[in-house]
C-alpha cells in the first residue's frame, strides 16, 4: 500500500468548470497519492479530459482549488503545470515530425548556455534505463511508430522532472503487446514514487494496472474504490448509473423488412489502423437501430462506409432494398460506389454526419444554399434552381422552428441546435428509405432533442430504416428498437432495446462479457 503518512501528491478541491451553459465538471474533488496509479473512468462527455486539462494548465477552473503536495497552486498555463511537476500525455501527440526524439524533448526548455544535445541524449538514455523505456534519442519522429511517439511524450515529461503524470487514453492507439510494455513502465514509475492518472475505457486495463479507480458521470464525481475491492461489473454500474426514464414515445416497429444488409465490413483508416472489423448486421425498415459504443469504436467509419465515403477492404457487401421492393427485384450493392453513384442507382440514403458544419452543411451559405446541396443537380441546364430549395428552406424553418434572421443567413453563425435542425430537416425532406444519424442530439437542449426523437420516430413509422448512433444510453434504450454495440470496431452484440438493461449494454461497450467468456 501507499505510505499513508505523506500528503497527497495532488488534491483537487471542489473544482467546477463551465463551457457556456454546459457544466463540464461540477464540484469535483479528487486526490492522487504518490506511488499510486489512479484510473479515471467515465462515459464519453463525463468530463474526464476537462478535469485533467485543468491540472495540465490547458483550462483554468471557474471555481475550486488545486493543491500540490499540500500547497495551493495556480496552474494557468502548461508551464505552470511543469513547474509544479505535472506532465500530461495527450491523446493526440504534440511532437514536431521533422525533429528527433531528443530535439522534441528539449524543445521549449529555457536553459542557460548553449544547447547541448549530447548531454540531453545522455540524460534521456538514463531515464530510459531507469524505467525500462526503449528509445533511440536520435531517431526522427516521422520514422517512429505510434508507440515510440508515445514513449517520447512520456520521456519528455519525465525529462522535465514531472512527479505527477496524466495519461489520456494512452492505450487507445497501442497493440496489446505495446500496452503490456507501457504498463510495465508505469509500474516502474510507480515504484519510483511517481503519481499517475490514467484515463481509459477498457475495464480490464483498469483492473490490471491501477491501484484505485475514480468514476465521473455527467461531470459529477461519483466516487472512488480500491481496485482490489471492485469488479468490472461494479465499475460499469458506477459509470452508467441507474436508468433514467425519459418517456420517449416508442411505437412498435411497423412491419420490419430488411433494408440494409451489411456483411463482412472491414475498414482501415489512412494510417493503416483497423477501424471496423468484419461488421455484419441488417438494418430493418420500420425500426430504429441504435448504435452504441465508446467514442471512436468505429461508429463514424460505419456510417461513412455505407454513405460511400470510406475505402472498404475487399470481401464486404452492403445490399440495399428500397421501401416496398418486390421479391423478384435484386437488391443494390453499395460497396465500391461513390456517393454520387449511390445516389444515381436510386438509393435514397439520408445521412446526418457527426461533424455538422464540416461535413453535412456549407457553413458560409444560408438555409436555401444548404437545401440546394442535395438537389442542385436537378436545376435547369447549367444553372441551379433556387425556388424549390427556398421553398423547402421556408418549410423547414417553420416546421422545425429554426431561429435565423433569414433563410439566407450563413448557417455557420446559427446556434448548434438550429444548425442541427437545418441538417436533419434537409435530410428528412429527401424522403429517404434509410436515415443515418450520428450524435443527432449532441449539444442540443431538451426540447430540441425531443423534436429530433419525434422526427426519427415519424420516419420509422413511414417504413424508413433509421440508424441512430448515440452516446446517451438512456436515450438509446428508450428510442431504439434494437441496439448494435460496437467495441474496438467489432460488433460485440445486437440486443433488443426493450428487453436489455443499461448494464448489459455498458458491459458490451467495454466487451467485458466476451473477455469473461474467454478467461
Amino acid at each position: 500500500m501507499v505510505n499513508l503518512e505523506t500528503v497527497a501528491a495532488v488534491q483537487l478541491k471542489n473544482i467546477t468548470k463551465r463551457f457556456g451553459k454546459v457544466v463540464a465538471n461540477d464540484n469535483v474533488s479528487l486526490d492522487i497519492n504518490k506511488g499510486e496509479i489512479l484510473s479515471l473512468l467515465g462515459e464519453n462527455g463525463s468530463g474526464k479530459t476537462t478535469l485533467m486539462n485543468m491540472l495540465a494548465g490547458i483550462y483554468f477552473p471557474d471555481e475550486g482549488e488545486i493543491l500540490v503536495n499540500g500547497k495551493p497552486v495556480t496552474i494557468a498555463s502548461p508551464k505552470d503545470a511543469f513547474d509544479n511537476g505535472i506532465g500530461m500525455i495527450h491523446q493526440h501527440f504534440k511532437l514536431v515530425d521533422v525533429f528527433t526524439a531528443v530535439e522534441n524533448i528539449v524543445l521549449g526548455l529555457e536553459n542557460e548556455g548553449k544547447l547541448d544535445l549530447k548531454a540531453a541524449a545522455a540524460k534521456i538514455t538514463e531515464i530510459c534505463r531507469k524505467y525500462g523505456f526503449v528509445i533511440d534519442p536520435n531517431k526522427k519522429v516521422y520514422d517512429m511508430s505510434v508507440s515510440e511517439k508515445q514513449t517520447v511524450e512520456i520521456v519528455k515529461v519525465l525529462y522535465r522532472g514531472a512527479q505527477i503524470l496524466i495519461l489520456d487514453e494512452p492505450t487507445a492507439v497501442l497493440t496489446p503487446q505495446e500496452t503490456d510494455r507501457l504498463f510495465d513502465v508505469m509500474r516502474n514509475m510507480k515504484a519510483d514514487g511517481k503519481a499517475m492518472i490514467i484515463i481509459t475505457h477498457k475495464l480490464h486495463e483498469v483492473m490490471d494496472v491501477s491501484d484505485r479507480v475514480a468514476v465521473l458521470r455527467k461531470g459529477k464525481y461519483v466516487g472512488d474504490v480500491a481496485t482490489k475491492d471492485t469488479s468490472p461489473q461494479a465499475l460499469t454500474d458506477m459509470m452508467v448509473g441507474h436508468a433514467v426514464t425519459l418517456n420517449i414515445d416508442r411505437p412498435e416497429p411497423k412491419d420490419p423488412t430488411p433494408r440494409l444488409e451489411v456483411s463482412g465490413l472491414t475498414v482501415y483508416d489512412a494510417l493503416g489502423v483497423k477501424r471496423l472489423d468484419n461488421v455484419t448486421f441488417t438494418a430493418m425498415g420500420g425500426e430504429i437501430l441504435g448504435i452504441a459504443g465508446i467514442a471512436g469504436s468505429g461508429q463514424k467509419e460505419l456510417l461513412e462506409s455505407i454513405a460511400g465515403l470510406q475505402p472498404i477492404s475487399p470481401g464486404a457487401s452492403i445490399r440495399y432494398r428500397p421501401i416496398g421492393y418486390s421479391e423478384d427485384k435484386d437488391s443494390v450493392e453499395l460497396v465500391g460506389k461513390t456517393p454520387l453513384q449511390i445516389k444515381q442507382s436510386g438509393v435514397s440514403l439520408a445521412f446526418v454526419p457527426e461533424d455538422r458544419l464540416g461535413m453535412g452543411l456549407v457553413g458560409s451559405l444560408g438555409m436555401t444554399g444548404n437545401m440546394l446541396l442535395r438537389s442542385y443537380r436537378k436545376g435547369h441546364g447549367a444553372f441551379t434552381d433556387r425556388k424549390t430549395p427556398k421553398k423547402l428552406a421556408e418549410e423547414v424553418l417553420t416546421e422545425l422552428d429554426v431561429i435565423t434572421p433569414s433563410v439566407n443567413f450563413p448557417v455557420r453563425r446559427l446556434s448548434g441546435g438550429n444548425v442541427q435542425k437545418v441538417l436533419v430537416g434537409r435530410e428528412i425532406a429527401q424522403e429517404p428509405s434509410v436515415l443515418m444519424t450520428a450524435y443527432a442530439v449532441r449539444g442540443l437542449d431538451i426540447n430540441t432533442s425531443y423534436t429530433i426523437y419525434n422526427l426519427l420516430t415519424d420516419q420509422k413509422m413511414k417504413g424508413v430504416a433509421v440508424v441512430y448512433v448515440g452516446e446517451d444510453l438512456d436515450v438509446l434504450l428508450e428510442l431504439c428498437d434494437r441496439i448494435l454495440v460496437l467495441c474496438g470496431g467489432q460488433v460485440s452484440g445486437i440486443v433488443d432495446a426493450r428487453a436489455t438493461t443499461k448494464e448489459e449494454v455498458g458491459l458490451l461497450m467495454t466487451r467485458f462479457k466476451k473477455e469473461a467468456a474467454e478467461a
Partner: protein, 369 residues
Amino acid sequence: MSQVKQGKEPLLRIAKRDGISRPKAYGIRVIAVLLALIVSGIFIFAVTKLNPVDVYKGIYTGAFGTSKRFWVTIRDTMMLLCIGVGLAPAFKMKFWNIGAEGQILIGGVVTAGIMRAYGNSISTPVLLVIMAVMSLLAGCVWGVIPATFKAKWNTNETLFTLMMNYVAIQITSYCVALWENPIGSNTVGVINQQTKGGWFPAIFGQSYGLNVILVLALTIGMYIYLKYSKQGYEITVVGDSVNTARYAGISVKKVTIRTMAISGAICGLAGFIAVAGASHTISTSTAGGRGFTAIIVAWLAQFNTFVMILISLLLVFLQKGAIQIASQFNLNDYASNIITGIILFFILGSEFFINYRVILRSKKEGEAK
C-alpha cells in the same frame, strides 16, 4: 494565497461581430477614407510643406486629368479587373493560385507569337479570334498542371503555381531573345507597327473600347457563373469544406481541375488583352506584378466581381496619381507611395472594424480577486 488567482484579462480584447448593418458598414468605410485623407494630408504638410488639397488635385489629374490619361486609367483598371475575375473562382475554391503572373505571360507570349507570324497574312478579326483561343488554352494549361498535381498527389498549390511563374518568365525571356527587333535592343519592339495586324480595332473611336467590352462581359459572366450555375455552387461547397463536398457526391478532384482550367484560361486571356489590346509587345514585365495585385482585388471584393470593378479602379487611380504627384511636385517616388500607402492602409483597415469590434477591459473585471 489561499484563493486561486484569476489570470488578468488583457486591456484590449477583440471580438468578432455578429453581423453589421449595411449602412453602418458603409459609414465605417467613409470614415476610413476621410481619416486617410486627413492623415496623409498631415503627412504631406509635415514632410513637404505642400498644400494637401493641391496634392489631392494632382492625384486626380494624374488619373483622370486628360482624355488620354482617363483611357489609360480605364485600360489598366480593366487589365487588373480581368485578372481578378480570373482568380475569383480559384480563390473561392480556396485554391491559392498565385500563378496568375505566369498564366498572363504565357497567354501573352502565345498572342505575340501568333501576331508576329500571321499578323500580315490573316485578317485582323480572324487573327484576334485565333489569338484569343490560343491564349485561353495556354493559360488553361498553366492552370491545369498545378491543379492536376494537387488533385492527384495533393501537392502544395501555392508553391507549384509560384514555380510555374518562373517557368513562364524563362519562356518569355527566351522568346524575347528569339524575336528581338531591332537586333541588339533586347526587346521585341512594337509588333506590326505599320500594319497594326492583330491589334484591337478602335471601337466608338476609342482604342481601348474592346478591352472594356471584353472584360466587362467576363465580369458579368463570372458573376453569374459563380452565383447561379451548378459549377459555381460546387466551387462554393468545395471552398467551404472538402468533406461536405464529398458527402454531397461532388468530385473534389474534378472540380479542382475544372476550376483551375477556367481560372488559368481567363488569366491567359488577360495576357492576350495586354498584348493585342494594349502594349502590342511582349516582355517579362508584361504582367508587371498585376497577377499578385489582383489577388488583393479578388479577396477584398469577397469574389463579387462587380465590387472588383471599384477596387481595381481605386488601385489604378492611386497608382496613376502617385506617378503624377511625383513629377508635378518633385516628390520622389517614395513620398507618393507613402501617400497611397496611407490611403490603402485605412481602407483595408476599415474592413477589420467592420468584421470585429474592440472591447476595452472593464474596470471591475480587472480588479484582483
